[in-house]
Amino acid sequence: MGSALASEDVYLPDTVQTAVKLLVVGHFAVGKTTFVGTLSEIRPLRTEETMSQAGAHTDDLGGVPHKTTTTVALDFGRLTLNEHLVLYLFGAPGQQRFTQLWRDMTQGALGALVLADTRRLEHSYDVMGLLEEHGLPYAVAVNHFDGAPVFAEEDLREVLDLLPEIPLVTCDARDTRSSTQALISLVQYLYTRNTQEHA
């Protein structure tokens, strides 16, 4: 690739001064890559980082510190919001063991959208826990899959154990309008939260 960047919209307008990022997180196959791809104005890109990770559990009976190397990929996309502001969306894996990656990712992020799937809501607990640990505010968007069960909002809130102020919306990650709405819910929440903290 390298020199094959013929398309002009690879680059940002010269006037862009500020870049902000939001994370799109969730368990495996919940639709993070689809969501980022739906909203991105550029062909979604991927960053890869090789990292050694400590064994996930300390109760390893072998007693030998066990390390493996994994490649962690982040898919990301870009939305130029006005002539001087650009938003990057990073789709990030929700595994507890990528601690360093989580530190890097959450650093400077405005907030996160947690994608959830009603067929396995319990798989979202890990990622929500990680966000709380890193102090990153989030909203939850149920990515609706055809044939997946539909629950009342209050039931979903109870299962996900959501605080009343945390937005919970439904979206279709394949649909631009619906995915944009989900992001708006998140940013509206970040905005309200911010005004309250400054009040």
Partner: protein, 118 residues
């Protein structure tokens, strides 16, 4: 189009960075914006740094995009960019300071920008 699978280079990452795992400066976030400085003699730059320069000469990009286009690991890209900033080849525009709460004005702009897309 370009194949999605990352190609593994023949050269190990630490060779590209002269054995360094960390950049000379700690100012790169994935969304730090970088662009090529005017002029800037490429003589003496390693092939990888020339690739970074060839990409960045086209216009501004985030560090993440440099990583994505060149398919070099994040940590290696940061080392290369750090050197290129030190040598005056690359200019950066830092992201908003992460220690502070996001500026309410920026959140308002993000909100307006997203709403305008509906």
């Amino acid at each position: 189009m370009t194949p999605r699978s990352a190609k593994r280079g023949l050269v190990r990452p630490y060779v590209i960075t002269d054995g360094r795992a960390h950049p000379t400066r700690n100012t790169f976030d994935l969304v730090t914006l970088v662009s090529a400085a005017q002029g800037g003699d490429l003589a003496g730059l390693s092939p990888e740094k020339r690739r970074v320069m060839a990409l960045c000469r086209g216009g501004s990009l985030s560090v993440a995009e440099v990583v994505g286009h060149l398919q070099i690991p994040v940590s290696v890209t940061k080392v290369l960019l750090g050197d290129l900033v030190d040598s005056g080849h690359i200019l950066t525009r830092s992201p908003i300071p992460s220690a502070e709460l996001p500026d309410i004005k920026i959140l308002q702009e993000v909100l307006d920008g997203l709403r305008a897309r509906l």
